[in-house]
């Protein structure tokens, strides 16, 4: 292994040089993109929009916030780490509740053509509604803004997973159904070895979409709810006119959203047929 590396370094063949370039391209081009973005930001903040913080001051603030993310000076002054933690907690709780309803319901509906037809209109009507519209309903039911946020996230997570699960289960290939019939699969065996596993990639697609939307919705929901969370943090920073903190929070939200998406992408690839 080591000798091979040395050989490559000292006697590079044309093919290897090309490979090095391909790897370098993969690193340099994204870096260039980020650079262009920061440059544009800088230009806009120094000309058109003077009130916008410059990249330098925003990164400074972000660095300070990340340096001590978990400080706690009472209910109105907590580190960005705490705020992200509260938001993630709500998102996962809501996401689990939503998925816990959506997956069994989706399988149940997907297995029967009649049920699919029966529930299709109601799903189609509720699906495009902004999840925030459910926030007051949550408030009315739970009389508490934290629970209302979780309720909103649960509703958000419901539709993509439900629709994808129904689709996954209802699109089981005819051949698989025939095999199950010919070999006399029990209802349980059919669920366990055919329906569930056949629909799994579709479910994971639904879950991935759900978690993405949930992470977007939590910010808005916490702006309404107040108290804790990254959404509240942004609104609070805006009220104290600290745009540096707002931008730092935006970057943190983006990075966590990206990580969540990658985790679900991994899962999807793991179970792809």
């Amino acid at each position: 292994m080591a000798t091979k590396t040395i050989r490559l370094l000292f006697y590079p063949k044309a093919k290897n040089i090309k490979n090095v370039w391909v790897v370098a391209e993969g690193l340099i081009l994204p870096f260039l993109g980020v650079l262009v973005f920061i440059l544009m930001w800088y230009l806009i903040s120094s000309t058109l929009a003077g009130q916008l913080p410059s990249p330098m001051s925003a990164f400074n603030t972000l660095y300070e916030l990340i340096e001590n993310p978990f400080y706690d000076n009472g209910p109105n002054d907590k580190g960005i780490g705490w705020q992200l933690f509260y938001s993630l907690k709500r998102v996962f709780l809501g996401f689990f509740i939503g998925s816990f309803i959506a997956i069994p319901l989706g399988i149940f509906i997907g297995l029967s053509k009649k049920l699919s037809i029966m529930f299709n209109p109601i799903v189609q009507i509720l699906r495009p509604v902004s999840p925030l519209a459910w926030f007051p309903i949550g408030l009315a039911i739970f009389q508490a803004s934290n629970e209302a946020s979780i309720f909103t996230i649960a509703i958000t997570s419901l539709w993509p997973t439900l629709i994808n699960t129904v689709y996954g289960v209802s699109s089981i290939p005819e051949d698989y159904k025939s095999v199950a019939k010919v070999f006399g699969f029990s209802k349980y065996a059919y669920m366990r070895y055919v329906a569930l596993l056949c629909a799994l990639p579709f479910m994971l697609t639904g879950l991935r979409i759900s978690i993405g939307i949930a992470w977007m919705v939590i910010v808005a929901s916490e702006m309404l709810a107040g108290g804790t969370g990254i959404g509240f943090y942004i609104w609070d920073s805006w009220n104290s006119l600290n745009l540096n903190k707002v931008i730092s929070a935006i970057l943190a939200i983006g990075i966590i959203g990206y990580i969540l998406d990658r985790i679900f992408e991994r899962l999807q690839r793991r179970f792809a047929v």
């Binding site: 051949d175 025939s178 095999v179 010919v182 070999f183 065996a189 055919v194």
Partner: protein, 257 residues
């Protein structure tokens, strides 16, 4: 005397489109019968009716004196598309079929049976692989093991070797016929390969073209077994049957391509 598998006046229509018209077939126990015809002549529909997966519009199928009204493991099917579950291993594909079909077996008996049949098709070493790690020929072997492992009365084969290359095809045909000879299984095979039909069958049923396809003629194959392919193709019987089938399919039932 009644035949083992009897198809009585089976008619089938999809809406106004009549696929099958007055199909009558008598198949003896242990007989290997091929059904040959142009694509779209409804031969796969007939197999599906025998399997119990499709209910005929009229007529009936009787197996061993009992009318067929639902699918069941006494009529195992081998599909052209293999139809293995891609998320299960080779072992589990066979095991779950056996466990479902023969509910009275204990787990130990199920495992022994799966092991025996995977061994029979020479796939013991690949038992832990998923189907997409196997070649087409190996996948069809798994499907054959799955079908045989439930010890059916009738084996239904829907163009089982249609998707395979010529070499793999002839190897699998040899294996199938060896198994068939040792088990006295009744086989009904759909094919559009004349040589395959002659090599394997006791009887070849020629279907007329659809719509309203029906039995055009039944050709008896009296070439003695065991048949050796290289010698069989030189015999007069083989050439006669081949020419007769070719005449049916290209001239009498010929279609402009």
């Amino acid at each position: 005397m009644r035949a083992y598998l009897e198809v009585f006046k089976v008619n089938h229509s999809f809406g106004n489109y009549q696929v099958l018209k007055d199909i009558n077939l008598l198949i003896g126990k242990g007989e290997f019968v091929s059904i040959i015809g142009h694509s779209g002549c409804g031969k796969s529909t007939l197999l599906s009716i025998i399997a119990g997966l499709t209910k005929p519009t009229a007529g009936s199928v009787v197996l061993n004196g009992k009318e067929i009204d639902a699918p069941g493991p006494d009529r195992a099917v081998i599909f052209q598309s293999y139809s293995l579950f891609p998320w299960l291993t080779v072992w589990d594909n066979v095991r779950i079929a056996v466990k479902s079909a023969l509910k009275h077996l204990h787990d130990k008996e199920v495992n022994e049976r799966v092991s025996y049949y995977l061994n029979l098709v020479d796939l013991s070493h690949h038992r832990n692989k998923k189907p997409n790690q196997l070649s087409g020929g190996m996948r069809q072997r798994v499907a054959i093991a799955r079908a045989l492992a439930v010890e059916p009365k009738v084996l239904l084969l829907d163009e089982p070797f249609g998707a395979l290359d010529a070499l793999t095809k002839s190897v699998l045909q040899d294996e199938l016929i060896k198994i068939w000879e040792s088990t006295n299984l009744t086989c009904v095979m759909i094919t559009h390969d004349i040589e395959e039909a002659i090599y394997l069958s006791d009887k070849i049923v020629v279907f007329s073209n659809g719509p309203s396809a029906t039995v055009f003629d039944t050709v008896q194959v009296d070439i003695p077994r065991p048949r050796i392919r290289s010698e069989m193709i030189k015999t007069k019987e083989y050439l006669d049957i081949k020419n007769r089938l070719l005449h049916y399919l290209t001239t009498l039932l010929g279609r402009s391509a």
